[in-house]
Amino acid sequence: MDNLQNKLIKNFKEKGLAEYPLEWLGNYRLDAINAAESLGVPDLSNEDWRFTSLKEFIKKDFSFFDGKAETYNKPKLPEHIKSIDGYFVYMHNGQLVSDSDYPFSLTRLNDSFEDLKVKEILLNEVSSKNKDFFYELSCAFIDDGFFLKLEGSNRLDKPIVIINSFDSDVDSKFVNTRNIFYFEESSSAEIIEYSVSESVNEFFLNKTSIVYVDQNARVEHLLVEDGNKNSFIFSNLKIVQGRDSHFTTNSILSGGQLIRNNVHPILNGEGCFSNILGLYLSSEDQLMDNYMFVEHLKPHCESTQLYKGLLNDESRGVFHGRILVHKEAQKTNAYQTNRNLLLSDKAQVDTKPQLEIYADDVKCSHGATIGQIDKEALHYLQARGINKDKAMLMLIKAFTDEVCEPMESEVLLEAFHNIVNDWFVKSELLEPENQE
């Protein structure tokens, strides 16, 4: 048995997490820690972790952190994030620190366990539970985070902007956080989740968001993981969609030493639509692993996945695209595309589709490509007077821009472009003063 796992189980016991006054919650945690223990930290023999070795990661000395921040200073944010006209929600080390008034209800998760909706959401997994060590871990340590509810027919006029930041004063923290979003029938909202870290110490973030998009609701979501070389991020995004609902999510992974990005949309009502977009931008020796699990439970639904990777230096990317169409889900349309552009000879990417289709009337497609900058295209642009760096950038942008085409929210689109531009600047593909 490895160190990390033992250490965390010890933490769990020391904190007495199973002895919570609410019996169901204690049991929920206990079941999860037992499941985590029997699953163990995945290694390469696990099909779902074939391309991502955690050998070095588990040697690290992370321990559970539930301390409150003594003083909280808002993180330094890029101007284009700060200036967004939105409802800002601040999280620090996985804890909700905002207490403003919002046109939606927002409570700390640990103050919300009495809420029957929260209990129902946690206990009802809806789909086949994904047996994953880190997901179980997130259930075992469930405490911090928030419960956000937007009532029926409410349409938010501005996006919810969630800012996640992390302390740098404590070494080797394991931060576990869970956010539950509940969008009631016919409501609509836009969300930007921006995680940034300037931490000088290594930290292990295990983050789970569950988004309920009820009947006829519309939600557009942009997730940005902009960590640094000290960030080890395990993110779970689980979406449960009701009838005729419409959900778009776009993940930009732009910084972090190791990111495992799990996205699990569950199309759980007839006629719903799920747009799953993502862009992983990796450099140096980063590893960005995307695990998609699109699950169709009901008929007449459509899901489209478009994930793109732009990989520089010696970085590595993984795309695992699993589509599961249950027997009942007739007339399903499920599409998946993964494209990768390698900017360096040493960058590497592994891509793997996995289709499991139990309904017989289904349209399903998948495709993956891995390539480099097209020399002929580069020459064509140069032959018209455009210098090589600019021409490269035009081609790279054409590649990345496709990922935001299905998005509708102007604010989210603008944020998308700004964040990608930030990465271009950081990667020296774009001069800061030339920012467009």
Binding site: D374, E376, A377, H379, Y380, L381, Q382, A383, R384, G385, I386, N387, K388, K390, A391, M394, L395, K397, A398, F399, D401, E402
Partner: protein
């Protein structure tokens, strides 16, 4: 304007140009004809600065200086333009954005003012009208899904907007019907003046009815084997190339 001197070029060790000489003065239109595989596109690509070729001997003097060390964008900025035989499709880069970037890069290099999007729009629309093209082409991705004829016309649109000094047309007429051919020829002729020059590569004499050349050259196996005036094109049309080969 340009002088190609004893040019020898290879690609992957295969000799393609074998001592090619050609001088084009300002105000002149030269045409190059020749059998398939004789090296016409290679010559055009080398003039535009494509990297895949090794120049093993000779030189290219443009406006009095060798351009062999110049990158393709620098050559374009100095006024060299190649209308490609097979224009590349570039998904995700709109035609309008591309053209504006190109024009502004060239303007910057020449010390001319950079055009604002509105000014550029006006110019582009005017040229599009001249070439009887559809305005929606501007919004579409560069050449993506364009028909063969649309691609060729798009090359001429770029030429009309960038206003080069030396234009090289590589089989721009291939695949065009007679109407499109006339439109393309009009576009070319509108740029003809005493400061500009043209090198027109073609298989067909009919283009030369509309773009009347001052000189016609025959390229065989990487060398110019015969030069003459426009009547040479007519002669080639009836006799073919075999009498000039070997």
């Amino acid at each position: 304007m340009i002088e190609i001197v004893n040019l020898h070029a290879e690609v992957q060790g295969q000799k393609i140009l074998n001592g090619l000489n050609l001088k084009i003065n300002k105000g002149e239109v030269h045409s190059i004809m020749g059998p398939n595989g004789s090296g016409k596109s290679t010559l055009a690509a080398i003039l535009a600065g494509k990297e895949d070729y090794d120049i093993t001997d000779g030189d290219i003097i443009y406006k009095g200086e060798s351009i062999l060390d110049l990158a393709p964008d620098e050559r374009a900025q100095q006024g060299i333009f190649l209308a490609f035989q097979y224009p590349i499709e570039i998904p995700g880069v709109s035609n309008a954005y591309f053209l504006r970037e190109a024009l502004n890069s060239i303007n910057k290099a020449r010390g001319n003012p950079v055009l604002k999007p509105v000014e550029f729009g006006k110019l582009a629309k005017q040229k599009i009208k001249m070439l009887k093209m559809d305005e929606t082409l501007l919004k579409r991705s560069l050449n993506e899904g364009f028909s063969g004829g649309e691609k060729k016309r798009n090359e001429i649109l770029q030429m009309a907007i960038l206003e080069p000094l030396l234009s090289i047309l590589d089989e721009t007429d291939s695949g065009l019907d007679i109407d499109a051919l006339q439109i393309v020829a009009n576009g070319v002729n509108s740029l003809r003046n005493e400061e500009t020059a043209f090198l027109v590569i073609t298989h067909y004499q009919r283009l030369l009815d509309y773009i009347v050349p001052d000189f016609v050259h025959v390229l065989v196996k990487g060398k110019i084997v015969k030069s003459g005036d426009k009547s040479l094109a007519l002669e080639l049309e009836s006799k073919g190339y075999s009498w000039l080969e070997d």
